[in-house]
Symmetry: C2
Subunit: 190 residues, 2 copies
Amino acid sequence: MSSCTTVEELGNEVYVLRLGHRPQRDKRITTHVALVARAFGARGIYIAEVRDDSIKQSIKKVISKWGGSYFEISDGVDPLTIINKIKSESGCIVHLTMYGLPIDNVINEIREKCKKILVIVGAEKVERLYYEIADYNVAIGNQPHSEVSALAIFLDRLWRGREINICFPDAEYYIVPSRRNKVVKRVDRK
Amino acid sequence: MSSCTTVEELGNEVYVLRLGHRPQRDKRITTHVALVARAFGARGIYIAEVRDDSIKQSIKKVISKWGGSYFEISDGVDPLTIINKIKSESGCIVHLTMYGLPIDNVINEIREKCKKILVIVGAEKVERLYYEIADYNVAIGNQPHSEVSALAIFLDRLWRGREINICFPDAEYYIVPSRRNKVVKRVDRK
């Protein structure tokens, strides 16, 4: 935990908006999107329109063990309400899509211009509307892969890899990196 | 497609071994792992022990449209057979796990030493055995996230981001990056 980076030190304040979650089909993918959001330094995730308690439960379990109680998770939200809120706070809307502009061409501008960022990740199809609302449509390569990997690479480029050493000061447990073992320690709060 | 990087130019020859796939629960996650493998420059994926035609079909559909016919996908494989094969070819076994050594401490050594690499990604629990067999147990951060994001960040670090511009010369379609639209072109082979 020595040379870790706090979420504040990362700089930009990032939230994720998950569109098109289908509870049956996407349960695990959306859970992984949320886990990436937390582990790579976002402040929270909004799941548009539908409610899915099982995802909230999974993430809360992770937070109670590994920290990050600031991390917000809201489901059943209206996407346009969130988008307008971020816009009204001078934040940027970044939509990750394989059709967008290459990340390496836009990431420096995004890092410098956007203090607050809402990153939109969709499921299979994203409505045209979001391409128009977005300040940046950004491609993590122009090949199909995954919203999970797209979000991870976006945040990794945004923070130039510093988020890999993120610290969660309220964690109950932490890992000591090991060549061949699983070394988990309980944080001593005395 | 102008300044793209071919899979050969990336250098190391990488395959992915997916452990612990549970057809009901992991269908979409394993599909996303396979899509990341292809899009980020791996040569193929082995799915251990179980067979799952739906994953093979999804990936083959992607390949027929976006290219990468060299990309191998085999299911129902015996993991130790694959591991021993790679070892016999002087390849390295890299196991991605949140308990491992920080990627930034080991990636240069892996890039230089390992011409051929088998990257093992598990589902929830990975047997002790694999920690012992692996030449490198590598952590993409010591926080829980996803095998999808872990694989993407590993390959992105391995190839220093060059894989983002990978070319698939046998693609039928390609995307022209766009600020706000979806621009897909058919490759003209005349």
